[in-house]
């Protein structure tokens, strides 16, 4: 079996490093499997192959968005790995996709790891604040770039160097109970983001609106935009009403003055 040349490995590794940092900032879409697959296809000299792998993975995560800091399967790295190793294997697009999906599921753990690791920089920054060390705080924030970048670049680099056979073996030996458990945990994690939002919103005062939103989605299966529009209508009504109340109050105040 052929292997990738040095330049291809470096290009794909660098892409992974940059793509994740793009995703959390400007978001030009480099971290989306579709665009990553297209890039990998270009690097490997088989654009159509990369497009197929990327698009298939993309359709699997359509509409899934990181919410409140929850982790998603890393289908960007998976698209790079699946396209690169799939092309050189000569076994076709299906093989590339079949390799990419479990890899992406496993790599979600490194996203969690990067977010953990950054806690260290936050603690250091909190300490620098005590001595008003501004440079120190700035440095801690910038260092976070490497946590994110390396969490994607290292696995991509390793997979490309090791080749598809070893990658498949590793995926096969990863204990089933753990990967099934991590998948369940991944589905539950948005709960934390939602609970944090609720903590910072006046939830107790406006529980009724929370219920309305829930009923619309859970019982009526209303799409999110529809719910947002209902929410906007309710918000407008409340804004008007509170305005009227103020007007009444200020008029009463004026009466008393006379």
């Amino acid at each position: 079996m052929e292997s990738l040349n040095f330049i291809q490995i470096i290009l794909l590794t660098l892409y992974a490093f940059i793509a994740i940092n793009d995703a959390i900032h400007m978001d030009f879409g480099l971290n989306r499997p579709l665009i990553a697959g297209c890039f990998a296809g270009f690097v490997m000299g088989d654009l159509a192959f990369g497009l197929s792998v990327g698009a298939t993975l993309q359709l699997m995560v359509l509409g899934v968005s990181s919410f409140g800091g929850s982790s998603l399967p890393d289908f960007m790295s998976a698209a790079l790995i699946g396209t690169a190793l799939g092309t050189i294997s000569g076994k076709g697009v299906e093989f590339g996709i079949g390799l990419a999906v479990p890899v992406g599921m496993l790599l979600v753990q490194l996203d969690v790891f990067a977010r953990f690791a950054n806690t260290f920089f936050q603690h250091r920054a909190d300490r620098y604040m005590e001595s008003v060390n501004i440079k120190g705080i700035e440095r801690m924030n910038v260092l976070g770039v490497f946590c994110w970048g390396l969490s994607r670049a290292i696995p991509v680099f390793l997979c490309l160097v090791l080749g598809s056979e070893l990658v498949q073996n590793f995926v096969a030996y990863f204990p089933d109970w753990l990967s099934a458990g991590l998948k369940v945990a991944g589905g539950l994690l948005p709960v934390v983001g939602i609970a944090i939002l609720l903590k910072y919103l006046p939830t107790k005062k406006y529980t009724a609106y929370l219920l309305i939103g829930f009923v619309l989605a859970a019982y009526l299966s209303m799409p999110m935009l529809g719910v947002a529009l209902v929410g906007a209508a309710l918000a407008l009504m409340a804004y008007r009403k509170s305005g009227e109340k103020e007007l009444v109050k200020s008029m009463e105040g004026a009466d008393e003055d006379e």
Binding site: F116, N141, L198, M224
Partner: protein, 263 residues
């Protein structure tokens, strides 16, 4: 005379644009990134070391909202601190926590879910036919958003100054309305984004009953709701951080999966 120039605002904007979430972490989330972004302005406003420390402390606190909409909050914040200096920091903290929830709910829906679904469904179907053109749609949308964000921070800054001038109840009314919208959206997010499926099947003789179907008859999204309630209660306890809550949920997920309760 204003102490903050357009140049300073641009510096904050580019810091947030390029490195705002670089140190995103489970404990304070965007806290460090927010502080980092505000530093050019803080340097201008607080020559006094004690004030500076207080400002740094305020901005290192927990913060998390939608990437794009955060620039509105940054703008308002700059305007408030420029006007009242260190005395405004408590109010700034309140505005930040007051606005981040509603803006996160709205932003994640509009930008995160809806825009992505539209652009990538079109792009993917074109790609499957071997046409890479669909990809450029998203790149263009990316440029549009970067430009839009420039307006966000300036609108925040301009309106922020006005808010200070005729403070009073209007700000409360806006926050109240935004919270209502935010909560409605969050209520819908619970059954939509949390996935918890119960694979358990009752068997008695020939009759098979899926537990998930029974749960759905009681209430769709019952397990997500219970979990949100549980984590919400936990977070309201002293000493509980989002970091610990994440670990708790991960262990819970793995345990429930191993026990065959969820899968």
């Amino acid at each position: 005379m204003s102490k903050i120039s357009l140049q300073d605002i641009k510096k904050v904007r580019y810091r947030w644009l390029l490195l705002g979430e670089a140190a995103w972490n489970y404990e304070k989330m965007q806290g460090l990134g927010y502080c980092y972004s505000m530093i050019p302005v803080l340097k201008k406003l607080y020559p006094d070391e004690a004030d500076m420390k207080k400002a740094l402390q305020t901005h290192l606190q927990f913060f998390n909202t939608h990437q794009e909409f955060a620039e509105i909050i940054l703008g308002i914040d700059i305007a408030m601190e420029e006007k009242e200096g260190a005395a405004s920091l408590e109010a700034v903290s309140a505005i930040k926590t007051g606005l981040m929830g509603p803006l996160a709910g709205i932003g994640d829906t509009l930008f995160g879910v809806i825009a992505n679904t539209i652009f990538f469904s079109v792009g993917s179907y074109m790609a499957l036919e071997g046409n890479p053109i669909g990809i450029f749609l998203y790149l263009i949308w990316g440029v549009v958003r970067v430009i839009m964000r420039g307006y966000f921070i300036r609108i925040g800054y301009r309106e922020g100054t006005k808010l200070i001038e005729n403070l009073g109840d209007k700000m409360n009314r806006v926050t109240e309305a935004a919270s209502i919208l935010g909560l409605t959206v969050v209520g819908a997010l619970i059954p939509s984004v949390v996935s918890a499926n119960v694979p358990f099947v009752f068997k008695s003789g020939e009759v098979e009953m899926e537990l998930q179907a029974i749960l759905n008859q009681i209430m769709p999204g019952l397990i997500p709701v219970l979990l949100v309630l549980l984590v919400y209660t936990l977070l309201n306890r002293k000493g509980m951080t989002s970091f610990k809550a994440i670990i708790f949920v991960m262990i819970l997920g793995i345990a429930c999966s191993a026990a065959g309760i969820l899968g």
